[in-house]
Subunit: 339 residues, 2 copies
DNA sequence: CTGTTAGCGCCTTCAT
DNA sequence: ATGAAGGCGCTAACAG
């Protein structure tokens, strides 16, 4: 279906009896155009209701002022707030944003790269799907020198810049907090161990345990997928056991939620019977507040930082440097009772 | 900055000693091209790593296969799930989606319409900002015959199709549920009364009260903005009062959350001391589960339905019919205790 | 079935 | 300080 005929720069040109090129330059604030002409052009543009056709301009300049984003799912708060951060900064720098969801599936992620490439985005920000093991599809960008920045769930195989939060420290703080509360047997309900973030959270936890000479009990460390069902499975395995732990560090909000709900289901009080620290984001913590302590990460900050990095690469074009930015985490204590 | 030179259909044409148009047609699966040629073209395309340039195609056809979405904020679950619904359907129909956030500000919403128009979207789906009172910016689309569909927060002033949930019924069910539980004085913490959704929720509530011959107490009906702070204000006004209500219907999740948190703060038990029904979305209900009963609406369904409507208009082009679709709500009971 | 031609709206040399 | 001309990559007539 066709659009109605629109006002083009030539209509403005005709109305003013000047050439199209002059209009184009005037609109782009080219220095070689007199102020008077510029003003005349701008006025006429407004009068005619001219709206630039980005398509034509992009085709010509092969630069779309658009950045593409690939994320697992927009409905997870961490990612939607990352997008808010991305959009906000991008907009102030004159860029718009195209979002693609991989739904945490590698095949969809491949589609995303195709879509974004077809849209000729100037750069890409991505957080990989949970089951992505092959990264060839990202070569669509790297091989063509289209800047690429990963955030949160990153890919070390590709030599790109990345923005992550300090997951290791988060895991460390979580475990040490529980230790300081007097907990004796601290479990870990973690995430898939091929993802950098869950590796680091687990390692941080282990470091804290070792530092305080805690015994590391293999069966208190559970790897769970990021689904409600699997989370409940994990919670059961930990809490139904006859000698269950007195504390749990949950590596993501789904795990934390699963723990909380199942604990409630079997009548355990938090934190009296079971102390919980979750790795989480703002709204979650507010909802479960004041029941558990959380390690907070800001999706917004991560998004902003990633965009800053990407736009630097796009505009400076100083060759894809391979920079890694680590953002801090914060422990937010909400449990009132000391144990 | 320029992109590297890319493979075009002409490269394929040259390699195969055929014309560019033939390649174009083969790639678009035109019926007038022989299977043999098609296959040859596809093979060569793959071999050369050809990636279509959507920009050029769009410019030519003046049809971008893109729909624009304007929403208040992506980080609210209702909207992010709506987007998931929109994207999913759009993708299967070959469309991609551009998202713009108004941040619940009219001025930003105006910017969004400009951005989307410049991208030459084929249609627009929008949910209006909380303070939008003037709708002229939408004429960018209507005047140019670009299909426009509103969802959830709709604008009756413009003659467009719209998709809403049954807010009236939701309000009615909420109040009637509380009545059936034996509550005697049911308050309403509602939203801005210039938005259709909050008007309808309030009206539904009033209808239920009248039906059961309840006295309508003006000071139990509070209009609140959709912020955490204002929600707490409202909660205070209702709960600090010496003769406080024994039940509250909260018109959105922020209100519900405010009530729950403040009730907890002053030591009220839910639902024993205070019954609460919230108008809400999935994750919220899961988090606060099992403490309150909720009226559930599915952002995903709303998004899907709006997209269906929009794509119909785009493809049929049967003139912008003005259809209104009302999706059902469900009451999900979670309180265990009868009062 | 396939090739030729023209042009979508804009920007950018090159000329004046 | 401005015009003229060409082309970005693709597709839609119109011819065969």
């Amino acid at each position: 279906m066709k659009k109605e005929s629109n006002i083009t720069i030539h209509d403005i040109a005709k109305a003013l009896n000047i050439s199209g090129s002059t209009v184009s330059r005037a609109l782009n604030d080219n220095s070689r155009i007199s102020e008077k002409t510029k003003k005349a052009v701008r006025d006429m543009a407004k009068q005619l209701g001219y709206q630039p056709n980005a398509l034509a301009s992009n085709l010509r300049t092969s630069c779309t002022k658009t950045i593409g984003v690939i994320i697992p799912r927009i409905s997870r708060f961490f990612f939607s707030s990352a997008i808010t951060g991305i959009e906000e900064l991008a907009r102030t720098r004159g860029y718009s944003v195209i979002i693609c969801q991989s739904n945490d599936q590698e095949s969809r992620e491949v589609d995303c790269t195709k879509t974004l490439f077809a849209s000729r985005v100037d750069g890409v920000i991505s957080s990989i799907a949970i089951n992505t093991v092959n990264f060839d599809h990202y070569k669509t960008f790297t091989s063509r020198n289209i800047p690429l920045v990963f955030f949160d769930r990153v890919c070390d195989e590709l030599e790109t810049s990345q923005v992550v939060v300090d997951d290791f420290k988060g895991g460390f703080l979580a475990a040490e907090h529980l230790i300081s509360k007097g907990c004796k047997r601290i479990a870990h309900l973690g995430g898939p161990q091929h993802l950098n973030i869950y590796i680091n959270r687990l390692q941080g936890y282990l470091k804290a345990l070792r530092k305080h000479d805690f015994e590391i009990e293999e069966d208190l460390i559970i790897e769970s997928l990021l689904t409600r069902e699997d989370g409940k499975e994990g919670a059961k395995r930990l809490l139904d056991s006859p000698n269950r732990p007195d504390a749990i560090f949950a590596a993501n909000d789904i795990s934390a939620l699963s723990i909380i709900l199942y604990a409630k289901e079997i009548g355990l009080r938090i934190p009296e019977d079971l102390a919980v620290v979750g790795f989480s984001n703002e709204p979650f913590s507010e909802f479960v507040s004041p029941s558990i302590t959380t390690i907070e990460q800001s999706g917004f900050d991560v998004g902003t930082k990633a965009t800053e990095l990407l736009l630097d690469i796009i505009t400076n074009k100083t060759g894809n440097h391979q920079e890694t930015i680590v953002l801090p985490v914060k422990l937010i204590e909400r449990e009132s009772s000391n144990r």
